[in-house]
Amino acid sequence: MANRWKNNLLNSEITPEVVWLNRRQIISSALSLGFCGTIAGPVSAEVLTPNSWEDITSYNNYYEFGTGKGDPAANAHNLKTEGWSIVVDGMVDNPGRYSLVELLTGLTLEERIYRFRCVEAWSMVVPWNGYELKDILDIVGVKPGAKFVSFETALRPDEMPGVKYNVLDWPYREGLRLDEAMHPLTLMATEIYGKPIPNQNGAPIRLVVPWKYGFKSIKSIVRITLTDTEPQTSWNMSNSREYGFYSNVNPTVNHPRWSQASERRIGGGLFAKRKPTLMFNGYEDEVAHLYDGMDLAKFY
């Protein structure tokens, strides 16, 4: 069932962790450059070079382990991920508690190099491995009438020092509309660079929705619920003026605190320049149709 979306990975033989090229995304960014009228020539395409393992695993937002960018890497080793299970409930044919083995055995492990854009206006490129969420939802069977999927992160005060403080209303919650959840780009990631996801990045399994701001890509998932009403999401509960349910990457919709027009790719050092943020984080061709007829300034 998988392989509905191909990103034609090209593993470099020399340094596989540094130079991974992605033809599909080169083509799509070439198109968007052309659209903006700033194309310098037919070959000036963006090569998506993934960030280093070090960048990806040392600069994280995972407030259950602290609000500093380095806190998750420092504190997340306490999280026990052995024997992980996910409760699937709500409008599904086969509700229950699934081990990761039960849920993922037989599914196709995908390799996806995605742009990752944080609402704080920084970005990375991450080589994920994981499973299309649709494949998982097909296993549990979505009942007709279900319209949304909600997710919950583990809440373990003994293992997560950050939850002592009510920075957010724990547990961390996120949600997608069903068609977003079923989109082939929507991934449940279990690996980065082919290695198990480190705890600070959301071990053992996390959502990756590359056309939305990073906080939508909920980490260390313990619960998936199918519903017919729009689920509550943590940042929206905390500050609904700043964080909408959709939170699609959109350079034209103002955020009260960060200009979303540009972003800085992590890893460029002290003199890294900002670059323009792409509509839907560069996945406009793939996902824009999901929002046909919607006012994206209203449904931000």
Binding site: Y165, R257, R274
Partner: protein, 201 residues
């Protein structure tokens, strides 16, 4: 006794030593940023560190009068150096944002106008400019009784600085609230009326 000994000790510390010592953390942080010691995102880290040092120095400056009143420890002669170095830090913080972070005049103007936390921070910075310009003996003499009035702007600037920090953090976080509490307490503690009320108890 201890306070007396400390006062004697501090009198031996030359003021110029502060002009050398206080900028050291900022220089070290900048050097770390150049050499990869500030992690994956050195620009934001440098910006935040410089802002943090500014707030700490403003708080240190605000603490001097209350410390003298409540403990007798006299650090008044260091206050100008603390203020001037605090301004140096906020300027470095501002320039980091301007040059390294945004690097785009249009985005800078839009940010100052449209992002309330930037507006507040920028206002705080502007309020400190006349203070640093009049932080010399000539201005003190020249301005006379107006000088202390002018320099009470530092209370407003410190509160705006603390507010800037509260406004830029996500979710409900304790640290910026602690900074604000300390700033307000030190300002409140120096108000003569409050001071008398406190003494009566």
């Amino acid at each position: 006794m201890i306070v007396q000994a400390l006062n004697v000790g501090f009198r031996k510390v030359p003021v110029w030593a502060l002009y050398i010592a206080l900028p050291v953390p900022g220089i070290v942080t900048f050097y770390l940023g150049l050499t990869g010691g500030l992690g994956a995102e050195p620009i934001t880290t440098l910006e935040q560190e410089l802002g943090g040092f500014t707030l700490k120095l403003l708080i240190l400056g605000l603490s001097i009068t209350p410390v003298l009143r409540f403990t007798g420890l006299n650090l008044l002669r260091f206050r100008r150096a603390i203020g001037v170095v605090a301004f140096t830090y906020v300027t470095a913080h501002f320039l980091t944002w301007l040059i390294l972070d945004l690097h785009n005049v249009n985005e800078i103007l839009v940010d100052i106008k449209k992002r309330p936390y930037v507006t507040v921070g920028f206002l705080s910075f502007l309020l400190l400019v006349p203070l640093v310009l009049t932080s010399n003996n000539w201005s003190v003499r020249r301005l006379g009784t107006f000088w202390p009035k002018l320099h009470s702007l530092v209370y407003v600037a410190a509160i705006l600085g603390g507010l800037h920090y509260i406004m830029l953090t996500k979710g409900f976080q304790l640290e910026p609230l602690i900074y604000m509490t300390v700033i307000i307490s030190f300002i409140a503690a120096r108000t003569p009326k409050w001071y008398r009320i406190w003494l009566r108890k």
